[in-house]
């Protein structure tokens, strides 16, 4: 009874297809029950996230037949016709196990190395375990997957670094300030990216946040969400001496902060280091302010360049991670074992591309 994986992911299908196959969180227990009751699977876990819908199952049917019937279950459950081809993939035995390990490690994710998927996988497994839809094979496979994810996180650089603009901004702030809790932040312009950046700073310890926006109502709403204080747009300079980090993303057509304006403000701040994050296009802050002592200015391109470099580093680590995964999967399911032999048999062609 080898492990079998069937499903769709961002590799094989667009969101317009994935969303039709998605299982609502509340529907997962019912779907698992239905799957078990059909006799198709002796053990099952359903993973449904925004980037993937997968069924991990153990069936006593021949593998090819089990894969075809699991696909049919997926279609029937959602009352959908068979997709044109290539969207649904299937992996059996050791390949299925390796796929599970890759998913747990974030190697199969849209942002390589991201850790959110591990939490989602644990939650999906816990649901199936609690409802007694797992057994010896899936329990062993999932526990091993969590161990492999931990091993890869500590032994490789696959999860190292920040790959979003917001988290890069936080990392820069942490290269200047020892503790973000002691350094107030000001957000000028209550856009989506500045909000994300502010949230990232909050998640790493920033406590005091000022929000200023042309629309004061929007500033107040965001300040309330972030647990900060709204400042009138015309008064932001008055609060400036108190802050150490500025995130700016207004839609102003010209610079709102230049060297002539910043120099006296820096004197008022007693030359404490100041991190300026300018994520506006066109830019809000005159690049010449970077020549002032203790001022560190980064614009959106600078942040993106760092994020891209981190992402490239993660991609460079993939081969190392895959070698570890192959070794761990081989240890759990050695080649030559009856399970592995069954796994190596070709699966039915559920789609032209099993990514």
């Amino acid at each position: 009874m080898p492990l079998l994986v069937i499903g769709l992911s961002h590799h094989s299908s667009p969101v317009t297809v994935r969303e039709r196959f998605a299982f609502a969180e509340a529907a997962v227990p019912g779907a698992l029950q239905e799957l078990r009751a059909s006799g198709l699977a002796q053990e099952a876990v359903i993973l449904s996230t925004c980037n993937r819908v997968e069924i991990y199952a153990v069936s006593d049917l021949p593998e090819n037949q089990a894969a075809a019937r699991l696909q049919q279950f997926l279609l029937d459950y959602h009352k959908l016709p068979a997709p044109p081809g290539g969207e649904i993939y299937a992996r059996g035995g050791r390949e299925g196990l390796k796929h599970l390990f890759k998913v747990a490690c974030g190697l199969d994710s849209m942002v390589v190395g991201e850790t959110e998927i591990l939490g989602q996988l644990k939650k999906a497994y816990d649901t199936a375990l609690r409802l007694k839809h797992t057994g010896g094979i899936l329990n062993k496979a999932f526990q091993k997957a969590f161990n492999v994810a931990k091993h890869i996180r500590t032994e490789t650089n696959i999860q190292r670094g920040s790959v979003s603009v917001g988290s890069v901004a936080v990392e820069l702030a942490e290269r200047i300030f020892s503790s973000l809790s002691e350094h107030p932040v000001m957000v000028i312009g209550a856009g989506e990216t500045s909000e994300k950046t502010a949230r990232a700073l909050l998640s790493r310890g920033a406590r005091s946040i000022f929000v200023s926006n042309r629309s004061h109502d929007r500033a107040e709403a965001l300040a309330q969400e972030l647990g900060g204080r709204a400042v009138l747009f015309d008064d932001w300079a008055a609060e400036f001496p108190r802050i150490d980090i500025l995130v700016s993303s207004t839609s102003a057509p010209h610079c709102i902060l230049d060297r002539a304006k910043l120099e006296p403000l820096m004197k008022a701040r007693k030359q404490r280091p100041l991190l300026l994050i300018d994520i506006a296009v066109p830019r809000d802050i005159d690049p010449s302010v970077n020549f002032l002592d203790n001022v560190y200015l980064y614009n959106i391109d600078d942040l993106q360049a760092i994020a891209d470099d981190y992402l490239q580093q993660r991609r460079d680590e993939i081969a190392r991670c895959e070698a570890i995964i192959a070794e761990k999967a081989g240890a759990l399911m050695p080649a030559g074992s009856s399970v592995a032999a069954a796994a190596d048999a070709p699966l039915p062609d559920l789609g032209k591309a099993s990514a």
Partner: protein, 301 residues
């Protein structure tokens, strides 16, 4: 390199047969200078390895450099113990001994700070300095034989004065290392070098605090060392403190570091200027230390 006076007598082992008539003598030629040479080689290896770390962008937590510097310190401690035991007092009587003392202080304080992983790269910045000081200390002529001046050798206050002032130079040395690290990190942040975020380095505000604390430690030690001067025995009865170039120089060093700390603490001097001040201050100490000792009648070894 080993030229100079070997202060430690080679060890002799006397073996006698059962009848007590035949003596076999084995001589160990390992003097304290040999151990110090090995320590300097370790510091040199660390300095070369630091170049590779720098080229790699200080991306990985570094344990190798820490271990090499620890090995160097153990060898140097052995050397200083041997010298101290042979003299039966703190070995701070000539330029060689003074410089080894400064070297030892820098490495010892680094090894304590380096217990924190993010501060471990201080070693990469410190090793070229300690290696250079070590090589200079081994130069011929800086380690003359002790004259056995009973007046100075027997005076504990002289030893304490020398030890305190040399420890202060060690603290100033390490503050300059932290200053170099600050300037590197600050430059990388300012000019958007990827190394600024990829390097396993402490934030610049912590480096500024470390520089500040080391300078304060150095200034307190120097103040204590200088405060002992009126109580020290005089080598020449007609010699006045106000005319001794070494004492004038020490007062100047004290004033320079004091001014630097006041400018930083009271007048919001920028971190970059403060770091440059720490680096320039120690460069002044290192470059003038030898010459001013030659000029000083009370410090001519």
């Amino acid at each position: 390199m080993i030229a100079g006076h070997c202060q430690t007598t080679p060890t002799e082992f006397f073996l006698a047969d059962a009848a007590g008539q035949t003596n076999v003598t084995t001589v160990s030629w390992w003097t304290d200078r040999h151990f110090f040479l090995l320590a300097v080689i370790a510091y040199g290896v660390s300095a070369v390895y630091s170049l590779f770390l720098w080229r790699k962008g200080f991306r990985e937590h570094d344990r190798i450099n820490y271990a090499v510097l620890l090995a160097g310190l153990l060898l140097q401690t052995k050397a200083m113990f041997m010298r101290g035991l042979s003299l039966k007092e703190c070995p701070v009587h000539n330029l060689y001994e003074a410089m080894t003392f400064v070297d030892w202080t820098i490495v010892a304080v680094y090894l304590v700070l380096g217990l924190l992983p993010r501060l471990r790269y201080l070693g990469a910045f410190a090793s070229p300095i300690v290696a250079a000081i070590g090589v200079f200390a081994l130069m011929p002529g800086l380690d003359p034989a002790h004259t056995g001046q009973p007046l100075l050798a027997a005076n504990a206050l002289v030893s304490l004065h020398a030890a305190l002032t040399l420890l202060s130079y060690g603290a100033f040395g390490l503050s300059s290392v932290a200053g170099v690290m600050y300037l590197t990190q600050e430059h990388d942040l300012k000019f958007h070098k990827l190394r600024a975020v990829f390097a396993v380095m402490p934030p610049i505000d912590r480096l500024e605090k470390i520089t500040n604390r080391l300078l304060w430690a150095g200034l307190v030690l120097l103040t204590a060392g200088l405060a002992l001067i009126p109580f020290l025995p005089k080598i020449q009865p007609d010699l006045h403190a106000g005319t001794d170039p070494k004492i004038i120089w020490s007062a100047l060093v004290w004033g320079l570091y004091g001014a630097l700390l006041i400018l930083h603490g009271r007048f919001a001097q920028s971190g970059r200027k403060f770091a440059w001040g720490a680096v320039a201050g120690f460069a002044f100490v290192v470059l003038t230390f030898w010459g001013v000792n030659l000029l000083s009648p009370s410090h001519r070894f």
